[in-house]
Amino acid sequence: MSDRVGTARATILGRLRAARPPATSPPSDFDVLARRVFPPGERYPRLRRKMETVHAEFVETTEAEWPSAVIEFLRAERLGTLLYGPSTPAGRRLAQVWPSGAEGDPRLVPYDRPVETMKADLFDRMDAGFTTTRGGIADTGGLILWPSPEEPRLLSLVPPVHIALLREAEIYDTFWQAVRVQKWASAMPPNALLISGPSKTADIEQTLSYGVHGPNRLLVIVVR
């Protein structure tokens, strides 16, 4: 097996090397992205406008108030369970202020074990998942997420509602700017994501339908 694999690799690379490479193209001029800058005050309204057209929902709040905004939303929407990462600073804040189990109050469920031990719960019994973000993108709309051991990958995917915390000050002009400023190239995590709205499809008659495989609602809690 390994011999044949080695042969395939050598044959393919050998053929590519033997070919006269196509003439080098002109230098890559990224100016078209560099000049897409928005005044700081316009970044958030633009992001919100772009994401609302693809059905993302927004709640504006403050640094002090955001955990209550999460709880209020869950109560208003009658969502009984919220899955979250308990060991991030935001997770600890949520746990501190969480109402202690009165009748009808939502339940806060930590995602702190390997998925294998809680897969059925994750798929069938979680009403919403909460994550932080590493900022947003003004140009096109979109949130930046780096799932981690503290905030696993499936938190933002499997529960039917995704609640994401975004700080207005962390909105970048473009995806390209975020990649450069946050120096992604030297520190890529096993999984990085952009998310711009609830899951959707247009595979039947080009007609948009929301909530196909991922969450059917995305709520962005914006700290201004």
Binding site: V32, P190, E205, T207, V212
Partner: protein
């Protein structure tokens, strides 16, 4: 792969498609919508031009360093814990995938969209081996239920309307009640597939961009089935054509922007999923193993010719087919090729032979729309003309030769061009033919073969009474 099976024929398939008003309406409606939405995305011509130049430069730079970048990609992926495999052709690729699945005893496999897997006929192969690969992209799921192939590389079920899909679901999904409501149809698929994601032993996906610098596999999608397939099962196998590599992470944002705006007219998709490794030591989820299969399947041969290598710049957005007057009328299936439309017209004959698939090269009016909308500046019309020439005059031997060069020649066509050439280079013959055409002009029977195809729907063309030459001489123009 081509010798044993007869060559698919475009013409009869196209004729059948043209006589199907439902199919034509489905495509016309879909293409009109996609053209409009793409146009809105590129409303600023300066930005479009600059972004396209950047996209073309990035893809050009990639090709100029292709072998080096593939090695860097392999090294970076390996560092990240992604296992890299190389496959010369579909057969090797299929064997690699099967080997990985067997090693894990995986029988339930969920797939997210991958055109390379279509190229490999992977589903058929796995089914023969007792493995059940389930397509999870809604469009792919629909056509898998219908035992069909994709009719478009981005929207695989674009040839069907809601009534056809409603009938299909009613027939094939036991728990589904008949409905023509699109949200309800989508919800039915969600219920079925969610269970499948939960149970799956392995996930298979394609790759939109593979970054050499960081060893990152990028997947573009709206539905979330790509994330489900790559993050829920314990094994993820990613398949890529070897041209999908890009050099730097910084190259990804402009290509991603060009891709989504060209393909569906969206500024950004719902999800952009960047995978740089399996589940980390402390992570709670994600696959324990990630495998990357790098497939050649004829690409290194295409790469040998400097001009034709442009074909490999393609980022598979499908804008060329959306804007193609031929594709819009005949639909994707008439091409009988994994890649339909203009990009398929240049890619398929190079992969399967210009003799065997010569008819695809003729399925073009050379209107130029495909080249104009291509986000990475592939000059598709020029390549169609080049390949037409290769099919007739090309030499089949030597480096850089096109597969089956010279085998697209047709005796009758060659004879016609010989007569044409003689008539235009021999003044005596030219005059004789002109004299005959003008004096015998009423004698051309409209039922003549070839001519009758024209006259069956139009009045018979009648040449003038005298040739232009004669008229000029009578008017006193000196004969030169």
């Amino acid at each position: 792969m081509s010798a044993e099976t007869p060559a698919p024929e475009f013409r009869p398939a196209a004729s059948r498609a043209l006589r199907d008003p439902e199919l034509r309406a489905n495509f016309r409606r879909a293409m009109d919508g996609l053209i409009l939405k793409r146009g809105e995305q590129f409303a600023d011509p300066v930005e479009w031009n600059d972004l396209r130049n950047l996209g073309a430069a990035i893809r050009g730079r990639t090709l100029a360093k292709l072998p080096e970048l593939l090695e860097r990609l392999e090294a970076a992926c390996t560092r990240n814990g992604i296992r890299v495999h190389w496959a010369r052709d579909a057969e090797e690729g299929n064997a690699i995938v099967l080997g990985i699945l067997r090693e894990h005893g995986a029988t339930r496999v969920v797939k997210s969209k991958s055109m390379v897997s279509e190229e490999m006929h992977l589903n058929e192969y796995l089914e023969e081996q007792g493995i059940d690969p389930l397509e999870s992209d809604l469009g792919e799921y629909i056509i898998q239920l219908d035992h069909e192939t994709p009719s478009h590389i981005i929207a695989p079920a674009i040839h069907m309307n809601r009534r056809q899909i409603a009938r299909l679901f009613g027939k094939k999904i036991r728990e589904a009640r008949y409905t023509e409501d699109i949200d309800e149809l989508t919800a039915i698929a969600r219920r079925v597939l969610r269970k499948k994601f939960f149970e799956a032993d392995a996930g298979i996906s394609g790759v939109n961009f593979a970054v050499a610098e960081t060893g990152t596999l990028c997947l573009v999608e709206n539905e979330g089935n790509g994330r489900m397939s790559t993050h829920v099962p314990s094994v993820h196998i990613a398949l890529m054509g070897l041209e999908k590599v890009v050099e730097n992470l910084e190259d990804v944002p402009p290509l991603y922007s060009l891709l989504t705006r060209s393909a569906t007219g969206q500024p950004i998709t719902t999800y952009f999923n960047m995978i740089s490794g399996p589940r980390g030591a402390e992570e709670k989820d994600g696959p324990a193993e990630v495998h990357l299969v790098i497939l050649d399947n004829g690409r290194s041969r295409i790469f040998e010719d400097e001009a034709l290598a442009q074909t490999l710049k393609c980022i598979r957005c499908g804008a060329c087919m959306n804007h193609c007057p031929v594709y819009t009328r005949v639909g994707g299936h008439a091409y009988q090729s994994v890649y339909p439309g203009p990009i398929g017209k240049i890619l398929t004959p190079q992969m399967e032979g210009v003799g065997r698939r010569h008819d695809l090269l003729e399925a073009s009016s050379l209107c130029g729309a495909c080249g104009e909308v291509c986000p990475v500046g592939i000059r598709i019309p020029e390549l169609i003309v080049r390949l037409r020439r290769e099919a007739i005059e090309g030499r089949p031997d030597g480096p850089g030769s096109v597969a089956e060069a010279g085998r697209g020649r047709h005796a009758l066509e060659s004879a016609a061009w010989t007569i044409w050439e003689a008539a235009l280079t021999d003044s005596g013959l030219y005059r004789a033919l002109g004299f005959a055409a003008t004096r015998l002009r009423r004698l051309l029977p409209p039922w003549l073969p070839v001519l009758s195809r024209w006259t069956s729907v139009r009045s018979t063309p009648v040449p003038g009474r005298r040739t232009l030459h004669e008229l000029a001489r009578e008017a006193g123009v000196p004969d030169e």
